[in-house]
Symmetry: C2
Subunit: 246 residues, 2 copies
DNA sequence: TCGTATTTGTACGTATGTATT
DNA sequence: AAATACATACGTACAAATACG
């Protein structure tokens, strides 16, 4: 039985360590935006790896938008300003990531219930499955600024060795899953007018615009591990992301 | 002098044709979600390519979310429902991509003006540069549902062999740039209450929520090519995207 | 303008490791 | 325990784009 969040066995591929080393170089400013990295043959020799292996590292750097590859020209360092910020294109918690006010407190409630038909469908569960329901309210200075409802199959929590009696333990599992899991999402964003219940929770006037993010998270694309819905008072959020072509 | 949008020369790498063939298989339903593809060695032989080349094709399929790779298990076909939709994580036009009402008409206005200080900064222009200003209103059945203001350096249009006198030509260049360019973005999303001017343009009551997307687009060289700002009546949009961890 | 050197892109082949069945 | 299948890593060769004298 394995913890979903558990770190992989310590075996790290060569090309990853090369990638991480070069990332470090860029962070340190050894090469600045616009600079050309040494040629692949040279780097390969420096790292004592084959050019193919080095190119796998280059691919990772390129996917991160850290370098651009140009045939005949070289590998050029791009903007390195984005090492800090996680955009919406990465799995994360938009309430924590994009609220203009810092979150300094959360209140969590955990319950268990039989999976509704929708849960069964979305999380691909059997009819007699149990799901954990996690409600989280996010505060800035005692002002609620966001609210989340998360649904996780009992099985996932169980495999994660979570103490189901301990609310805090469940909350930590959820946040770690969001930050360190290897997950993919299907995400939907909508803006609606707040109605009674959420207006109350978020302490805003009824009718004020509410940003809703609804998403399902999957491991390696296929197995659903989590479904959650987030509610954000629209004026308190500024969302950033990086988009790519293709 | 080259057109930025211009198609590449017809030379297509082997691994791309392999990728496209397998894509076709999936579209045709030759392999359905959940199925296992034949082993890489077998496929490599079928296609008469080396396994390395075949794996490059597999990588593309994986990046598209069409298959999942599982060591020891095989390459599994994933949901193929998403072949149509471009999520927000890809560069595109959110008004066209996410408005719940289909766009059936646009009205474009093009002008030229000296770069303001902000343009100079954002688009990295010299002091005496000229920028093209493109205003586009998007309609569904004579109802305005979105509005865009785009700024492009004169230089970019010029390199694209665009007839600056021809509004339609400029508009086409802009849309093609968004759909087929190889670009990266810095994007910001905000929700505000509409004020007089935009409420008028979009024919909505003042104070109604307005979704604003502001972004700069860069080529792989980190060269800014376009800055634009889009205004969307919030209730008419449902935004989808796929997020990834890391 | 032309040719040459440099640099990345594509393609092949082989061997071994590691996870799953 | 063995077979299967993908992951990693090495190496070679040539093609294509670019830079430079």
């Amino acid at each position: 039985m394995k913890n979903v969040v558990e770190e992989k066995n310590v075996k790290i591929p060569l090309y990853v360590t090369v990638y991480e080393t070069i990332c470090q170089w860029l962070k340190e400013g050894k090469y600045k935006p616009g600079d050309k990295l040494p040629g692949e043959n040279i780097l390969a020799e420096q790292f004592q790896v084959s050019r193919s292996t080095l190119r796998q590292a280059m691919l990772l750097l390129q996917e991160d938008g850290l370098i651009g590859n140009h045939q005949g020209k070289g590998n050029i360092v791009l903007s390195n300003q984005d090492l800090k910020s996680n955009g919406l294109e990465k799995v994360g918690n938009p309430i924590l990531d994009f609220c203009v006010q810092p979150i300094d407190r959360t209140v969590t409630a955990v319950g268990f219930q039989p999976a509704t038909r929708k849960h069964q469908e979305v999380l691909k569960l059997g009819v007699s499955s149990i799901v954990a329901v996690i409600d989280i309210t996010y505060f800035h200075q005692d002002m609620p600024v966001g609210f989340a409802m998360a649904y996780m199959p009992y099985e996932v929590l169980n495999e994660g060795n979570v103490d189901l009696e301990d609310t805090d333990s469940v909350y930590r599992f959820y946040t770690r899953l969001l930050s360190s899991g290897r997950l993919y999402s299907d995400t939907k964003l909508r803006i609606v007018h707040s109605r009674e219940r959420l207006a109350n929770i978020l302490a805003i006037p009824e009718g004020d615009p509410l940003l809703i993010m609804e998403e399902e998270l999957y491991t390696e694309y296929d197995k659903p591990v989590l479904s959650h819905k987030m509610f954000m008072g629209a004026d308190l959020y500024e969302i950033r992301l990086k988009r790519k072509s293709k």
